[in-house]
């Protein structure tokens, strides 16, 4: 790949923040039409590098070449001018506006806003790239997968030829991911150059041509995908061999700790959502979890997982049925709940690590005596938690918002797992984390399992949930379709159950499902976009 006709080339990019070297002489070559993977743990320097490319940071040293010509990217506007488009993990869309309005926002060069013509143009653009979207639907009504297409179209509409995607699949369901990876291939075939940042080795293996691994600001290796494999990449990323599939050692489960009988509940409207959706999210769900057992909940996002977790934690009321938490220890301890969204639900980012660690127990001994917070006890607790859970922070007084994702999750684990909880609900506990942090999270949970906790492990990442579970329950439209022994279940079997391809009553069918086709779905959304509103919270 040394002979580069056209494409993007970075040479010796170095960026320092004070004493911290975020990028150390990084060189990277991406020929036109290639998909280049960028792998690395949190803090390896991926985001810094991408922020340099998109004009948010200036490199201290090094040059960027585009089609052999050196270019200067001083501002994000420069980046757009050179055809570099960034697609962020968290979408930069205005939910109240339509697809067209979002795409043309900020790019219109005339005073006249010709939505009709632009809608046509965007529809055509979408067809060209296989990114079909309903141009006049409100973005807030669309499923996340479609919103992401809008985000990509927005960049393409601005004539971008180099697309940088930061963790693009973190928010997608498995079916959406498959479709998304196909879109990437199509884009590459049409001479787009793509930099694909991800933690997920499978996706990188599936879609990239080449991959560069970063570790602590350095390029560790660049490999053609054909000449490497998952194990090698994983080793390169963390510099220690990690076992990717750590199936728990079988152990005999104890008595039933968590017992759900015929639970019905409405869709949660907890966070920023303004309207309460009176849509049934749980429809007669029954489940038992025993001491020393991990029960995995697999399913496509939005099939009631969130409500299941919230109902057990007592955050939403149930309409019918019972939830029993059946042991003296568990009855006294609050349920440990590792929520889905670390930053919104799990932490108070403006609070220090020490103060986040006492969020659940701040009003009790030993942290509080006669209404006064006990400074020394809180500090000692923070110190020991930082050690036990290997939270990498210079000081317990550091704000939670200053930590990396993995360390944020460790703070939550340290808080929730303190005091030997009887029941643990872990909702997407490894989402968006690097391999090292994933291993740490999984090991903490396995340790709790050996101790005898009853654990509910909810994840939309199938391999993740299969690797961690003793038994595996598949949730579909608020019901458990089947409960399998994880050791004998196969990916295909579970995958089929997840999309409801067994004898599920079709009477439940509405327009709100998205895992089937693409074009008819989009049309349905266009005409009936309000039907998707019940699909849980979105940014």
């Amino acid at each position: 790949m040394s002979e580069l006709e056209s494409g993007l080339r970075l040479v010796g990019i170095t960026k320092q923040f004070g004493p911290f070297i975020a990028n150390n002489s990084i060189s990277l070559t991406v020929p036109t039409g290639c998909i280049h993977g960028l792998l690395g743990e949190n803090g390896a320097g991926k985001s810094t590098l991408m922020n340099i490319l998109s004009g948010l940071y200036q490199p201290d040293e090094g040059k960027i070449f585009l089609d052999k010509k050196p270019i200067d990217i001083k501002t994000p506007a420069d980046a757009i001018k050179h055809g570099i488009g960034m697609i962020h993990q968290h979408f930069m869309l205005v939910p109240q506006l339509t697809v067209v309005e979002n795409i043309v926002l900020g790019s219109a060069d005339s005073l006249r806003l010709n939505i009709k013509a632009q809608a046509k143009e965007i529809t055509q653009l979408g067809k060209d790239y296989g990114l079909e979207v309903p141009p006049l639907a409100r973005v807030g009504d669309l499923p996340v997968g479609i919103q992401q297409r809008v985000e990509i179209l927005k960049v393409l509409y601005r004539q971008a030829r180099i697309l940088i995607l930061d963790e693009p699949t973190a928010v997608l369901t498995p079916a959406e991911i498959t479709a998304f990876l196909q879109v990437l291939r199509r884009l590459a075939a049409r001479a787009c150059t793509i930099i694909f940042i991800s933690h997920k080795l499978d996706e990188v293996m599936a879609v990239c041509d080449e991959v560069t691994v970063l570790r602590q600001g350095n390029v560790v290796a660049t490999r053609a995908i054909a000449q490497t494999n998952r194990t090698e990449l994983a080793r390169l990323m963390v510099d220690r061999s990690v076992e990717i599939n750590t199936r728990p050692i079988p152990q005999s489960a104890g008595k039933v700790i968590l017992n759900l009988k015929n639970v019905w509940a409405n869709a949660a409207a907890i966070s920023a959502q303004s309207k309460t959706h009176a849509i049934l999210a749980l429809r007669g769900l029954s489940l038992q979890v025993r001491a020393g057992e991990i029960v995995g909940i697999a399913g496509v996002d939005g099939n009631g997982q969130r409500e299941l977790a919230d109902a057990i934690a007592g955050l939403i009321p149930i309409q019918k049925g019972t939830i029993e938490i059946g042991s003296e220890a568990a009855a006294q301890q609050p349920i440990a709940y590792i929520p889905e969204d670390r930053q919104q639900q799990g932490l108070i980012l403006s609070f220090s690590i020490a103060h986040n660690l006492i969020l659940k127990a701040f009003s009790k001994l030993p942290f509080c005596r006669r209404w006064i917070l006990q400074r020394a006890e809180i500090a000692a607790h923070a110190k020991s938690a930082i050690q036990t859970f290997d939270i990498r922070a210079a000081s317990a007084q550091l704000k939670a918002g200053q930590l990396s994702g993995g360390n944020q999750q460790k703070v939550i684990l340290a808080r929730e797992l303190a005091g030997e909880p009887g029941v643990i609900i872990a909702m997407q506990p490894t989402r968006g984390l690097d391999i090292g942090a994933i291993a740490a999270v999984q090991q903490s949970l396995l340790a709790q399992r050996s101790r005898g906790a009853a654990i509910l492990y909810i994840s939309t990442e199938l391999e993740d949930v299969m690797a961690m579970s003793d038994r595996l329950a598949v949730i579909y439209r608020g019901q458990l379709v089947d409960i399998l022994e994880a050791s004998s279940a196969t990916l295909e079997q579970v995958g089929a159950l997840m999309v409801g391809s067994t004898e599920i009553k079709e009477s439940l069918a509405t327009a709100e499902k998205l895992e089937t086709g693409v074009s008819p779905e989009v049309k349905a959304l266009e005409t009936n976009s309000s039907a998707t509103k019940g699909k849980g919270e979105r940014l």
């Binding site: 810094t48 934690a313 955050l315 709940y337 980012l349 009003s363 006064i372 917070l373």
Partner: protein, 353 residues
């Protein structure tokens, strides 16, 4: 790493202390320009203002008199702000607090002061708290935005008081709408002889100290801050967000109510129609300017009290319209908002997210 971090903390702390001062200075400068436009000498005007408000006996007493209701009402607004709630209803709560204190002040005539005065203050607190709690209840149980409800409740309170002092509570043979005098045992005592300055200022300073402590070291303060910073995470951690909000809005109303009490029991000794010249709205500005710090509120309120007290003299001696003072108050808030926005931009970029 640690040293750099400490320096960063120190720097941001300094900036937090410095920027309100810069905002005030900038506001005074722009105010000076406005005076020049009005054809007056800013130097003469400011020196008249500050000399009157700070160095004369009666002027200083007047500054304290004006500071007292501002301080109490600002503490109310600030407490709500800490829980992420905007209490725009301090004005109405001041009126209700005044009513509560008046009723207790009128109800007894032979109680000793040590019982009657605290009881009358409590009455004001209770009425203000109840008025605030209406907005709190509507928010928690019905999902109505407190910004709207607190604001609208102001009008109801103000006109309710107007009705009462024009009708049922009107003093016999009163030439204009005001009530009877409260019993002397409910008076907040005068602290500077021959002036109107009264002991309400001590109440304000004591409550501000108490709140500073409460936020610094108590579990209650921690809970309020948690709800203010991230209500969702607080809820997930098992904190009753609704209960906290209701509690805090009621407390907020109660503190603003005490501002009304101090006007009735300390200054006027009876209830007048429209007795608050917009203290409740100034309080909002003061609370924002003090950035949620209940100790800083003392200084900020004093500054605003000083402007109010010196304004009239300034008008007389330097022929500068009083409205310039209101412009300065408004500009101060504007500059604080600007400094907040700037700080968010300056915050150093993180190496990786």
């Amino acid at each position: 790493m640690t040293i750099a971090y400490r320096q960063a903390v120190l720097k941001s702390g300094l900036r937090a202390a410095l920027s309100p001062l810069i905002a005030v200075a900038a506001a005074l400068t722009v105010g000076a320009l406005l005076m020049l436009l009005a054809g007056a000498s800013p130097i003469a005007a400011y020196s008249a203002l500050f000399r009157q408000a700070l160095t004369t006996y009666f002027g200083f007493a007047d500054t304290l008199t004006k500071t007292t209701p501002l301080l109490l009402a600002s503490l109310g607004v600030l407490v709500a702000l800490r829980a992420g709630q905007f209490n725009l209803g301090a004005e109405g709560q001041i009126y209700m607090g005044g009513l509560g204190s008046l009723l207790v002040g009128l109800a007894f005539s032979d109680l000793p002061m040590v019982i009657h005065l605290p009881l009358a203050l409590l009455g004001g607190f209770a009425f203000g708290a109840a008025w605030g709690a209406i907005a709190g209840y509507l928010k928690v149980a019905r999902g109505l935005n407190e910004v709207l409800t607190t604001l609208l409740l102001n009008y109801i309170a103000q006109y309710l008081i107007s009705y009462l002092v024009n009708g049922p509570l009107k003093a016999a043979n009163a030439p204009s709408p005001f009530s009877e005098l409260v019993a002397p045992s409910a008076y907040l005592p005068t602290i500077l002889g021959k002036t109107q300055a009264h002991a309400g200022i001590f109440l304000g300073i004591a409550l501000s100290t108490l709140l500073t402590l409460a936020f610094a070291i108590t579990a209650w303060g921690y809970r309020v801050d948690a709800v203010g910073q991230n209500p969702v995470a607080a809820r997930y951690a098992g904190i009753s967000v609704n209960r906290t909000i209701l509690q805090v809005i009621a407390l907020s109303g109660g503190l603003a109510g005490l501002a009304g009490s101090s006007e009735v029991l300390g200054l006027k000794r009876r209830l007048f129609e429209n007795f608050s010249p917009g203290y409740g709205f100034d309080a909002l500005a003061i609370a924002l300017l003090s950035r949620g710090n209940p100790a800083v509120v003392i200084l900020t309120s004093f500054f605003f009290g000083m402007l109010r007290s010196g304004a009239n003299v300034m008008q007389r001696s330097a022929s500068v319209p009083v409205s310039i003072i209101y412009a300065i108050q408004g500009l101060t808030v504007l500059f604080v908002a600007i400094s907040l926005a700037l700080e968010q931009q300056v915050q150093s970029p993180k190496p990786d997210s």
